[in-house]
Symmetry: C2
Subunit: 351 residues, 2 copies
């Protein structure tokens, strides 16, 4: 604040009072006479005084800011979540510091160190695809840093978690494909260590099993970098296409993977859904403008951000340690854009 030097001292000096009196007047303390209060408040207003939050942080040993780490902000799901986080944070006078891991464990830890060294009061995080060692989070959490996990959570750490019903989302999507006549449904998923991968994979398998379709492991492809490297998704799709029993549909298990698959199929001039159907998790509003409009599973990202933040602020501001942590499971929504599937149904019926 090189450029705004107005402090409590300036007020004290100008008014011939002590700094403590001014401080108390500003905080509307009961021990200050109404006249003094009025005097101080008016003068403070006049010279446009604002308390220095840095000094406050030092004193109160809290920064009134929370850290957010996601893999990428240029991803609809996460940018929508951040909007939700910000809305609650700002309403409560908290600042939000955003950092991106870009799906790298190393960057995640670096960001974490940066944020904690900046004295964040709490952390909201969706871990990277690479993250398999959770000791760092665990340690911080045990040392007293409140953490709320969302989306890609860490089961081992006992704190609040906010997720969508990944199992049901994947189950619904897969069932939808089956209902429309597809039988060889491939699944392109994130790293197997992610919570969402496990849950979505389970939903996919359950849907198949319930419809008496055998699970073919050769149709499941893991993308360990979550699609951050396009070639990894290309390899996955290509190998699926080369499969001796080629799949007739792909279920993509994340926003990034869905878009990547679509892009790759398009580049290879494979008609979607006529040659290959595609359904996936995605929060991109633009899917409806795409060709074809995709059927997607949408997550209530904004609400997830809001809820995660409320829970975090609760943790931060609770005096005594919280013991009853909860895992909020929100509903995910299958958005069926019929045009992409109907054709296929016809084809199926006719053939």
């Amino acid at each position: 604040m090189r450029f705004e030097a107005v402090t409590i001292k300036d007020i004290a000096k100008a008014l011939g009072l002590s700094t403590s009196t001014v401080s108390r007047a500003l905080r509307d303390s009961y021990e200050i006479s109404p006249e003094t209060k009025k005097l101080v408040l008016e003068y403070a207003e006049k010279i446009n005084y604002h308390p220095n939050p840095i000094a406050l942080s030092l004193k109160e040993r809290r920064s009134r800011s929370i850290g957010v780490i996601v893999c990428e902000i240029a991803n609809s799901f996460f940018s929508q979540t951040i909007n939700g986080i910000e809305s609650i944070a700002y309403d409560n006078g908290y600042n939000v510091m955003i950092a991106q891991s870009r799906e790298s464990f190393k960057r995640e830890i670096l960001n974490l160190q940066f944020l904690t060294s900046r004295s964040i009061d709490g952390l909201i995080i969706s871990v990277s695809t690479e993250t398999e060692d959770f000791s760092y989070f665990k340690e911080l959490n045990e040392k007293g840093l409140p953490i709320v996990f969302f989306d890609r959570i860490v089961d081992e750490i006992n704190t609040h978690k906010v997720i969508v019903d990944n199992y049901k989302g994947a189950y619904d999507a897969t069932s939808h494909l089956i209902k429309n006549g597809y039988r060889r449904i491939a699944n392109v998923v994130n790293s197997g260590s992610l919570s969402i991968t496990k849950e979505r994979l389970a939903g996919y398998k359950a849907a198949l099993t319930d419809q008496k379709i055998p699970i073919d492991e050769s149709l499941i492809r893991f993308c360990h970098h979550g699609g951050m490297i396009l070639s990894e998704v290309e390899d996955a799709v290509n190998s699926l296409l080369k499969n001796k029993k080629r799949p007739d549909a792909i279920f993509a298990s994340s926003d990034k993977l869905t878009i990547s698959c679509l892009r790759i199929l398009k580049a290879r001039k494979i008609a979607v859904p006529d040659t290959m159907a595609l359904v996936g998790f995605s929060n991109t509003d633009l899917t409806e403008l795409m060709s074809p409009p995709l059927t997607t599973i949408r997550q209530p990202a904004f609400e997830m951000g809001e809820i995660a933040t409320s829970l975090l602020l609760q943790l931060i501001e609770s005096k005594r340690p919280v013991t009853d942590f909860e895992t909020k499971i929100l509903a995910s929504e299958l958005i069926i854009r019929d045009s992409s599937i109907k054709k296929k149904i016809k084809t199926k019926v006719l053939s």
Copy 2:
């Protein structure tokens, strides 16, 4: 840092030294003996000491963080810019605080106050559509807060600016439409007070004039909220469609407006480009997956972020006041996706 109490004092006490010795040893000061240094550094490492940046900020009166204000992070152009900003900032040990104005002047100022009260060392901003009063920025800048404007700049304030060649981008896009046979080209633009609006409008008009096509003001529609309110774009498009001499093409002057126009046309079942061509500024990678793939003017967003940040850090770290401010103008790129236009050419040729 409630959870990490290791301070310089702890080290001093443990090692039987004074805090100043420890401080100097940690900063590798020349006046400290190698042995003491080694002792201190090793112990600091061992107990995992990290300096408290809050205390440092208070002392040094700088926070090593920069503020960024954009209208919306869930917008490809801005999220890409932020990526560029972050990459440079983090390389230089700066933290980035991101805030969204959501095209509201009020929110912009609130964010600004929040950020400055948090002692940001500098600001990177693309102003909101509503912003017409620049006195606030001017004042802060004159008080010593380094500011770099990008995209939507404020001409009146003498500091670094980073923009793309908006004039040429609009000129190229309009020319492209003309070259493909369109004659009644509408222009849907942001608020008229924005720098980009003026520049893009000028490019659009110049292209028409150069091709001897009269400028029809009834084909120009301003969106004062930059498309944040969908109905405003709907009104613009609807009124264009009702125009007695209906346009045969729309040139949309921002990412948000381009997507909005496309969505509206689609909802109204107006074939693009057969019934109405559409070209616009857009950084969304997804345009190529859209139906139809749009011809767009793309801005080098990431690079803009990088450059803006380099300039800002230069301002922040320069000892003496800088006087030779520069306006960096990067090239914008017209990405022609022929399929969207070719049909139209055929139609034109045939008719």
